[in-house]
C-alpha cells in the first residue's frame, strides 16, 4: 500500500483502440505508447479526451482494438489494471463516499482484507505524505475545493497506483486552491496524466496530446502542442 509497490517504468499502449456508440464515434481507433512521467491531454469539449483517459483504467472499454497497461489488457485484466491506475474525477465530491476524510481514505483498503491497524497506518502515511494529517478528522463538506482535491488524491494514492489520471483537477478552483493543487501535482512521484483546459498547469509537461473530434491532432512537447490547440480553438 505504499510507493515501494510501484513499478518504475509504466507502459501504456493503445493498439488500434477506439470507441463507438452505435454510429457515433467517440474516439477513432488510435495506436500509441505512453511512458513519460507527465502527460497532458487537451482539446475542446467533446473531443474525446475523457473517453481516452477512461480507457486507460478500464472505465471505458474499446469497441475496437485493445489497451494494455504494463502488458495487462484493460478488458481481460480489469482488476489488476484498476490497482495500477488511479483516477481522480472532475467532481471530487462525487468520489468521496464517506463523510469523514479519514474514513473515506481507508474505505478503499477494506476490500483488500487489511486489518484495522494496517489501514490506519496507510491512511496516516498518505496524509503525512502531503502534510495534511489535520485533514483526516475533517468532514468532506467543510473542505475547500483544493482540500477536497487533496482528499480525493489521498483516497486514490493510498491504494498504491503507479499512474494517476486527473480529470480537470483545477476546474472551478480559486487561485489559492489552484496553486495548492498545482504544487501537489508537481510533487507527485507517480506518473501523471492530466486532462485539462488549464494550459498554465500543463505548460511544462513532457508530452501533450491534443484531441479534436475524436482524433489526436498533435502529440508534442507542451509549447508546440498548446500552440496547435490554440489554432484549433481559434
Amino acid at each position: 500500500m505504499n510507493a515501494d509497490h510501484r513499478v518504475p517504468d509504466l507502459n501504456i499502449r493503445f493498439e488500434n483502440a477506439g470507441v463507438s456508440y452505435g454510429a457515433r464515434v467517440a474516439l477513432h481507433p488510435l495506436s500509441l505508447t505512453l511512458g513519460e512521467r507527465r502527460v497532458a491531454v487537451i482539446g475542446l469539449n467533446g473531443s474525446g479526451k475523457t473517453t481516452f483517459a477512461r480507457m486507460i483504467n478500464g472505465l471505458a472499454q474499446p469497441t475496437t482494438g485493445r489497451v494494455l497497461v504494463d502488458g495487462l489488457d484493460t478488458a481481460a485484466d480489469a482488476k489488476a489494471v484498476l490497482g495500477r491506475v488511479g483516477f481522480i474525477f472532475q467532481s471530487p465530491q462525487n468520489q468521496i463516499i464517506l463523510p469523514v476524510v479519514r474514513d473515506d481514505i481507508g474505505f478503499g483498503l477494506k476490500s483488500r482484507g487489511l486489518n484495522k491497524a494496517a489501514i490506519e497506518a496507510a491512511v496516516d502515511g498518505v496524509l503525512d505524505r502531503f502534510g495534511v494529517r489535520d485533514l483526516g478528522s475533517r468532514r468532506a463538506h467543510e473542505l475547500s475545493g483544493g482540500e477536497l482535491q487533496i482528499a480525493a488524491l489521498c483516497s486514490v494514492l493510498v491504494t498504491g497506483p503507479n499512474v494517476l489520471i486527473l480529470d480537470e483537477p483545477t476546474n472551478q478552483l480559486d487561485l489559492r486552491n489552484r496553486a495548492l493543487v498545482e504544487r501537489t501535482i508537481a510533487g507527485l512521484s507517480e506518473s501523471v496524466i492530466v486532462i485539462s483546459h488549464d494550459l498554465e498547469l500543463i505548460s511544462d509537461f513532457e508530452r501533450v496530446l491534443v484531441f479534436d473530434r475524436g482524433r489526436i491532432v498533435a502529440d508534442a512537447p507542451a509549447a508546440e502542442a498548446i500552440a496547435r490547440y490554440r489554432e484549433i480553438a481559434a
Binding site: L59, G86, S91, N94, P99, T159
Partner: protein, 200 residues
C-alpha cells in the same frame, strides 16, 4: 457532502451500531404487533424524546424529517378513504414512532459504522450464496450518504425556478432531479470501480 449524522457524545452515540440496528429491528416488529392507540402514542412520545436528545434543536429535527412526515400524512389520508379514523390514527402513530427511532439511529451512527455493521449482519446471506455482503453495506451507506445530497439538489432546482420567476411544482422539478441524480450516480459508481472498493 452533507451528512445525516450528528456529531456528539450522547448515550445514543455511545451505543454500539449493531445494538442500535438490532434494537430498531425489534422495535419495528413490536410496533406492528399492537393496535393500542395509547401504547403507540407512548411510543411516539418516547421516540420523540430520544430523538431530541441527540443534539438537534426541535426546529432542525423537524426540518430534517419534514419530507417523511408529509409522506406519513399522505398515507394517513389515503388510509382514511378506506378505513375508519382509528385505523388511520394507528398508521400515523406507528409510522411516526418508527421514523423517529430510525432517525435517531441514523443521527447517532457514523456512515462507516453503518456500512461495517450491515456488511457483518449480511454475511450469513452471503454464505447462503444470495448476495455479496459488502454490496449490501455499501448500498445502505450510499443511501444514507445521498439523502442530503438529493435534498440539496432539489433545493437548487427550486431556486433555479425562483430565479426565473417560475413557481416550482413537482411536475417541473421531478424530471431534472431524477436526471441530475442519475448522472451523479453514474459518476459515483465509476469512482467506486476506479477506487477498487468493489473487488469481487
Amino acid at each position: 457532502m452533507r451528512t445525516l449524522h450528528v456529531e456528539g457524545n450522547t448515550w445514543a452515540h455511545r451505543l454500539p451500531a449493531r445494538g442500535k440496528l438490532l434494537g430498531l429491528a425489534a422495535f419495528s416488529v413490536a410496533l406492528f404487533l399492537t393496535h393500542d392507540i395509547l401504547l403507540l402514542g407512548l411510543a411516539v412520545a418516547v421516540a420523540g424524546a430520544v430523538h431530541l436528545g441527540v443534539g438537534l434543536s426541535p426546529a432542525e429535527a423537524f426540518r430534517r424529517l419534514r419530507p417523511v412526515f408529509v409522506t406519513i400524512v399522505m398515507v394517513a389520508l389515503f388510509s382514511l378513504l378506506f378505513n375508519p379514523l382509528r385505523e388511520a390514527a394507528v398508521t400515523v402513530l406507528r409510522l411516526t414512532a418508527l421514523v423517529l427511532f430510525a432517525a435517531t439511529v441514523t443521527a447517532t451512527t457514523a456512515v462507516a459504522a453503518f456500512i461495517d455493521e450491515t456488511t457483518a449482519l449480511a454475511r450469513p446471506f452471503e454464505r447462503l450464496g444470495l448476495f455479496q455482503a459488502a454490496d449490501v453495506g455499501l448500498a445502505i451507506g450510499l443511501v444514507i450518504r445521498f439523502v442530503p445530497e438529493i435534498l440539496d439538489r432539489h433545493r437548487a432546482i427550486q431556486e433555479a425556478h425562483a430565479a426565473r420567476g417560475l413557481k416550482a411544482r413537482w411536475t417541473t422539478t421531478l424530471v431534472p432531479l431524477i436526471i441530475l441524480t442519475l448522472r451523479d450516480a453514474d459518476t459515483v459508481a465509476a469512482a467506486i470501480d476506479a477506487r477498487g472498493i468493489r473487488r469481487h
